[in-house]
Symmetry: C4
Subunit: 369 residues, 4 copies
């Protein structure tokens, strides 16, 4: 991948994600904004996700030659221009008319991977077609209807997706007060394209209703093996926060683990990604690649994750704010800005390549176990 020489001026567009969110908020229906921004219960884990990265301090190296800094890497063999992927998120059309197609195009232009959601408002085939030749992954919710689930897997393979990301932290939907109060549902005419349905209005969250009715709460480790039997694609398991679970998944053949608490939207009080990552990396011991999401907002957060042993991070909500405000170009600009941040943080840490980022860069806060 290309290395960024610092001979040319590095002048990033101002990366102010707080401002980006505020701009997006003015453009969105309040219920759509709340659906994306919100978390479970008291939004304690939502807040802690970002705070946990902030608690970690960096110990930069000096006097390393960083005339050329290369932020590119590979994730499960897929080359990416920076160690940041786009996290799977439902319903992109809530924020922009071109929905997932714009996100796919914008992500491809930035040289990285979109993880398309089962609950997309664009069919997985159309998402794939929106970024021809660019690597994409598919996120899978196992439905109670296993035949339908197997069909989704087959369609993803045929459409050229490079990996499957099996979400395991949603046996039931977390309680999300904003959506319950808003009686959140998809707008008239908007459908979950992969499942060919809209949501049904109810006296609470329509998503909670869908999840309770359709998604399978009975998954066990054997289902990782079941899924592997359906496909030749590598399988990542997303939603793991413990060493034992990570080991089990790898034993069942998972090629990757995504350390995640679902952006603070499922179990409120769950440990933050940054706090759970080290034990998972340790447990996996190199037998699979480890990714992490939740609260990543800065290039320095990405460097911290890599230093803890993550292969890459997934970026979530900010991508939807960028989509809302700028469509495909907004997504590309966001990821480009993030790449500038990662490159700058690497340079300031004395790391010309991603492989140079190591645990010696980390300083944990006093008292950490």
């Amino acid at each position: 991948m290309d290395a960024r020489p610092f001979r040319r001026p590095v002048v990033s567009p101002a990366m102010d994600l707080v401002e980006l969110e505020q701009r997006a908020r003015t453009l969105l229906a309040p219920t759509a904004y709340d659906y994306i921004a919100g978390g479970a219960d008291d939004e304690r884990t939502l807040a802690d996700n970002a705070a946990a990265w902030g608690r970690v301090r960096l110990r930069p190296r000096v006097l390393r030659d960083v005339a050329l800094v290369d932020s590119s890497t590979t994730v499960l063999g897929t080359p990416v221009s920076l160690p940041v992927l786009v996290a799977p998120m439902a319903y992109h059309r809530l924020v922009h008319d071109e929905g997932e197609e714009a996100t796919a195009a914008g992500t491809a232009a930035a040289g990285t991977v979109l993880v398309a959601s089962t609950l997309a408002t664009t069919s997985l085939e159309d998402v794939a077609a929106a970024a021809p030749g660019s690597p994409q992954w598919f996120q899978l919710y196992v439905h109670r209807d296993r035949g339908f689930t197997a069909e989704l897997v087959a369609r993803a393979g045929q459409a050229g997706y490079r990996a499957l990301v099996l979400t395991v932290d949603l046996p039931v939907l977390g309680y999300r007060p904003r959506d319950e109060r808003n009686r959140f549902t998809l707008p008239e005419g908007m459908v979950m394209a992969n499942v060919g349905r809209s949501t049904e209005a109810t006296d609470g969250s329509a998503i909670a209703l869908y999840a309770a009715g359709e998604l399978d709460p009975s998954l066990t480790p054997a289902d990782v093996g079941w899924l592997r039997g359906l496909t030749t694609l590598p399988v990542l398991v997303k939603g793991v926060l413990r060493a034992d679970d990570a080991r089990t998944c790898v034993d069942e053949g998972a090629a990757g683990i995504v350390v995640s608490n679902h952006g603070g939207r499922q179990l409120d009080s769950a440990v933050a990604g940054a706090d759970a990552l080290p034990e998972v990396v340790d447990a996996v011991a190199g037998r699979a690649e480890v990714l992490v999401d939740g609260g990543v907002r800065r290039g320095t957060d990405v460097v911290k994750a890599l230093a803890m042993g993550a292969r890459a991070v997934l970026l979530g909500r900010p991508v939807l704010w960028a989509l809302a405000t700028g469509g495909a170009d907004g997504v590309t600009a966001l990821l480009g800005g993030m790449r500038e941040e990662v490159v700058r943080a690497m340079a300031l840490c004395g790391c010309p390549t991603v492989a140079d980022v190591g645990p010696d860069l980390l300083s944990f806060p006093p008292g950490r176990p």
Copy 2:
């Protein structure tokens, strides 16, 4: 007990206990609100009770089959639909005309246990009659008049109560600035039905006056034995915060220990229930059941208490807010909502039964001893 299959949509009524309290507040006399909401001195322990649960993080398990989740359990042999009992609290008629009778009916409808207070504004016989056939416990203050106390114990036995909860953390009343300022007293015509008296107006809190004049500050461990000699009911000791005291009580024949600082209303600066629970569980070593109260507001708090080794928790102030706003139905709805929360938290933690909840779910904050 019934298990909740997640096939049916789980759509709880919005559980916003902050809003519930605010609604109750608008309905109540300010002095009644203050009496219930307030704590001792600077209300430091009152605040810490809730904060202590919040400091604990959960490490959810994934890929466990949680298609059926059963929140039921037993407490000292009494079956309950969820591991949450209603804590003993004085003066329910302060907040609703039907007082403890409504609480008893509402609690019974939710399938759990009300711990009726010695200082109820309804006689223990009427409380029992309000929920015929449903298990209830009786909370006991030992009065200086031991004959009268023995009479209370006898009446509780005859009325069908299943256990006695001996409160030991009130040798004197904690200093409660709100009640002193308000010169809190029971309204004209309202009586402590079990003792057949109203409170006497004074230049401070009438409750402090009653407690100082009537309650026995000379209790020792031998009194646990004395109480056991009066009854065949199992005795729980409530208000214990230390390993040594817990062991002593069990040695004296206590069947249960309630870890409690009296909702922050007695000794300000006392350790929070969540902080004291582990040492008590450890000390008791299975020889008695351990319960805990103070600051429990979420299903995740309940799961944390169980994971620390509690058999169940007691819920206090929110029950009175629910009683104030909705009578018996309000209490049932609150406990039903709490049951939804517990079930959801169990599902998201990968625990189909209460027995599956274990200490591996806990992550303590950095630096905890």
Copy 3:
């Protein structure tokens, strides 16, 4: 000393020291209020003094017979009705016309000891005369003029003081921004009665000027011995925050150590009294009595200090707020209220006597060394 039986109602006057300070503030010249309320530099240690007591949690014992609770004790052989003395403070006439005479009378009525200041606005003889027969101590600043200092010591002996408290943490005055900005000086006609002088106006704090000109910055441990040679009274050393210094003072014959950072008025950033106390108690190992001041505001703070091994605490600023608002009676009421608080805290901790208060009552916050 008398024991307080709880048979009689305990109804204290509302102890709201925040409100007491606010009332005093409305009565005082702003410069006088600032002089008393303020601290050094950024008032970090001033704030930390109170916060440090708050960080400590109590582990109350239950099922102890506390029908009679006795808060009395002795300090260097002087009997006091509660383990709280009045700290030495300058210039009582700033807040009340009767100045130190009122404080002396009020303190004596409450059955405890006033530590009269060298910088009093009443002569030490008049202070003694204001509370005939009641035990008092004298706080000593060693002046550059050692003859004058020896004279003060002789006068204190003749006037009947029972102990000398040698202040050692004021080789120079701490920088107190409020007084510098206010150009604080004693009002026209008010004198430091023991030294027979007023303060001189300057472009900053007149006290800083006096201290720099008159007080001796060259004290060494030998001066403790020098002072002992001048008197038969026991000598306490005040302003010690370290084990080594405490040991040195005891080796030089000190009968008591007062752990103190001068109420946060000298070295900003100095450790809080509550944080320094344990190491001093440990170092002194029973060879002298240890007292502590700084930030004590509640009966529970007093119990915490005793549990850490202090013999008693000194109460400062609140006494001047009480003097300002109520004269001698105000001081008596404050100390009476504090005694109620101590008795109540002892009862709720299961301690019928001061000797029952022990280190098992303490729970330190996570991570404390």
Copy 4:
């Protein structure tokens, strides 16, 4: 050096650096104020620099003779009246017409060292001439043009500078949102006098553009040796935050290490100077002198740095606020006030000389590793 006897009144001008900054702000162009006050990204490290000193507590010694307190010391053999130097900062003319010449004169009058910046708005020769006979050091940025860099070194030698301070934490400029938003550039007609150029306007920070185009991002430890070969002056390396890097620099012949995160302007999330200092002191083990900067605002901060093993500290932004409000005299007054603070803190810690300041004075917060 002269010792300050406390016989004479110590009455400092009010040292209120917050107020000083506010006064300066009213006098400056907002973009100039932002350039100086701002930090990188979220200004987390900027805030932590000051907070980290605040977290450390002091354990003052008492009963030491501090009648004479001497704050003077030497730094790399250069005598200074206090262990505080003026940190290298760019563009002094932004805040005062006389720019670096006034700073040089004011610093010399205070008896300490100015570290003149490569990016000064006054030529290094003119800076030297502004304080004839007074010791000054020169801060060096290695430019891509090594010939030009060597020329700077030669000029510094000829102009009489006593040491070179090689900055190594700026391979690229940190992202500074304020400057990007302000499109910060030097005002019309103002030049970087040593390099003979102004900055070029761009759509972001002109400084970022200059740094990216001109400064050398390829430095390695060998360049420390390269620099030593160009000069007989001692070389300090500035921007080190780790033990390993410090050791490497000393191995390459560095005579001094400046522990620094560039005032929070480079890598946001970098450890604070106060947190990194102990490991660097340890690693260097007396083979070089260690200095530190970042967040020093009080005499007590200076004493803490010395107690951790620093030889001296560098003071940054406050010097520019003093220059803005008072020119050379303002700088002298600031450093004089800081000297009063250091002397007072030393006296209150029982340290008559800088050599008396030791690690026993430090108390780290609970839980520190």
